[in-house]
Amino acid sequence: MTPSSPRLNELQLAALARELDAIEAEARADLGEADLAHIRRVMRVAFVAEVAGRGLLAFGVDPLSFVLGTGALTLSKILENMEIGHNVMHGQYDWSRDPELDSRAYEWDIVSPSASWRHAHNFEHHTYTNVLGRDRDLGYNLVRVSAEQPWNPGYLVQPLTALGLGLFFEWGVALHDLRLEELRSGESSPREVWARARPFLRKAGWQLGKDYVFFPLLAGPNAPRVLLGNHLANLGRNLWAFAVIFCGHFPEGAEVFPEADLEDESRGHWYLRQLTGSANIEGGRAMHLLSGHLSHQIEHHLFPTVPAWRYPEMARKVREVCARWGLPYNTAPLGTQLRSVARKLLRHALPTRPRRPEPEPTAAEAPTPARPPIAA
């Protein structure tokens, strides 16, 4: 762990875990029709926006309908990916047994196939959040976001790399899930990589076919307009997802952890790692909804299977816990977090050096909560 957060001993970690568990249990006990009403309302908006967007693009002739159509399509894609797809695939609605909200059955409107993304994301990223060498989402192997990642001259151009990754984020995520680098290291045989690549290629083909062939052709003479609108909507969605996700893990203050931390890791330490490895974005309801509530990345990492629209309410309790335990709670408006990520990307483009590790804590040094934790 990097030194900015206080170090807790195992007893304190267990108490912390009990408090966070209690917040989750309370939310879970309340699950019901309100959660389904929420997600179905968002789905309704996304469906209507998609039809409206595609309609305006296909049938309009003026620039205004082009702008509105592209906007509506972008909105629908953002909602579908962020609030619906991502959260459904986390199993946040599995309890309802609704086949349309089943984490295994859901397929999203993005080039990476759900099944491979689910494994890479739900397992590797959420279990090993910000652990060097284990969380492959740490900089997506393309950019260097901490001094602990070994430097090479390629990182000198990483501000440009990051921009490219932002524009083609869905492709970045999909390629990332293929783990091509394992081919070079010998961890995966070409056959294994091919087995991973096939579903991706098939899905990507259909995705390209949909937005760049099928819908443009359907519009007849308006094909170029539809093609451009679809492309802009994809780019817009990509940039937005990239911004939200980078702000969630890589602003200043978000910590990275050595692999040794995983050994016999307690629930409390896992919680602490999620808490200190994530960052929130402050904003209004629109910000939360459009980010799929990843504006509450901290709560999402603490409670990944709780319906995300409950994070704002849970955040109040999490912040109270953090304040009492003297734990950092990284939150700032979008602009601040983006600037912070940009600074980090610029700084680590150069060969920065990691800080020295701190000595092990003793019980006396570790902080005690201001008042006794609630008994579970």
């Binding site: 469906f47 986390h90 599995d94 309802s96 984490s103 689910r118 397992f123 959420h126 259909w206 949909k210």
Partner: protein, 369 residues
């Protein structure tokens, strides 16, 4: 030794045969299917292409604790035979929950008749929340508790409580086909007021001379209650020669089964059970046996830990990731049995997917592994 047959080259699928499937596949990959579902459902929930639906037309108060829900099925409904049942699906606190109900009307109409079970989750919800206009899910009609063809000459119906529902459908069918003449219904209820569809039954007895209606009422001054063997033999001396349809609570069923067995007439008895045998719920520490549906193997789970750990110890290697309930890699269909999810604290009694790494067995199980 027989020589192996030469292996034929596999022919490519005929394009026109799978055109429909291919179209459906393409629609799914272009995400047109969910748009179509959404708009059809907005137009009329009965048109929902993702499953059969029915709209509640009317709710009829049968007795103090029994209601009939008259249903109008969507276009996918393929009809039923008198005596069959359907599985309905309703959202209770947002959770889709299923239960079986016999169809209480003859083909051509659709209705279910539900008794409120004390503490019952679904029957209570149906009574309290299901009103005219609501739309519910249902499965195609199923079951072989039906009138045989050709119709038996003197059918005998032995029912109790809500067990009368499939008999109502069969009696209606017999009446419609003018074959009610030799039929007898022996029905057990607490009191006259508790007899479901009493008015209709009495009318039926008036109109069809040969139809015999025998109510056995707990509050009647004469005779012992229910299907006491001696009384039953006196009431229907020729029972062993008649095609018999039995439906009621487990106690009654066992008693009548014994009676028919002793008369050597078990072959004449058709039965419908309303209660699925509940798995014996064991203490969490007890060893549970798990049938693995895909491999056909059965293993015994012992010792501490989650189902995932116990299965691994038994030599089964289910897919997994985080081992702490967040990645869903270990999510697998539980086909039968009761488990407890230690993450949510919920007990799972019905067939549904569970997370092996945070669940423990509360009974013997069947898993889709």
């Amino acid at each position: 030794m027989t020589s192996p047959l030469p292996r034929l080259p596999r022919l490519p699928p005929l394009p026109w045969l799978s055109a429909r499937d291919r179209l459906a596949d393409a629609a799914r990959r272009l995400f047109l299917d969910r748009q179509a579902r959404f708009w059809l459902r907005a137009l009329d929930p009965l048109l929902d292409p993702s499953g059969l639906r029915a709209r509640v037309r009317r709710v009829v108060e049968e007795t103090a604790d029994v209601r009939t829900f008259v249903l109008e099925p969507g276009p996918g409904w393929r009809g039923h035979r008198a005596g069959q049942h359907t599985t309905i699906e309703v959202p209770i606190d947002g959770v889709l929950t299923r239960r079986c109900y016999s169809i209480s009307r003859a083909p051509g109409a659709l209705a279910i008749t539900v008794k409120r079970v004390p503490g019952g989750r679904v029957s209570g919800w149906l009574h309290d929340h299901l009103h005219a206009g609501a739309v519910i899910g249902l499965s195609p009609a199923a079951g072989d508790f039906v009138l045989p063809e050709p119709l038996p000459p003197r059918p005998l119906f032995l029912t109790a409580g809500s067990g009368i529902t499939p008999a109502l459908a069969m009696l209606e069918e017999l009446a419609r086909r003018d074959a009610l003449g030799g039929a007898t219904l022996v029905h057990h209820a607490r009191s006259r007021e508790d007899v479901i569809a009493r008015g209709w039954l009495e009318g039926l007895a008036r109109e069809h001379a040969g139809f015999r209606l025998v109510p056995l009422l707990d509050d009647a001054p004469d005779g012992p209650p229910g299907f006491e063997p001696q009384r039953f033999r006196a009431l229907v001396p020729d029972f062993a020669e008649r095609a018999t349809f039995l439906c009621g609570p487990p106690g009654l069923m066992t008693r009548v089964e014994a009676l028919y067995a002793s008369a050597g007439a078990s072959g004449r008895l058709r039965r419908e059970r309303f209660v699925a045998a509940r798995p014996a719920v064991s203490a969490p520490s007890a060893a549970a046996r798990v049938r693995l549906a895909r491999s056909g193997q059965t293993v015994t789970l012992e010792g501490p830990g989650s189902l995932l750990e116990q299965l691994e110890r038994a030599g089964v290697r289910p897919e997994h990731g985080c081992r702490m309930g967040i990645c869903l890699s270990c999510r697998c269909e539980k086909l039968a049995g009761v488990t407890r999810d230690h993450d949510t604290g919920a007990t799972s009694e019905e067939p549904e997917p569970i997370r092996l790494c945070v669940s423990t067995a509360c009974s013997d199980l069947e898993l889709d592994l």
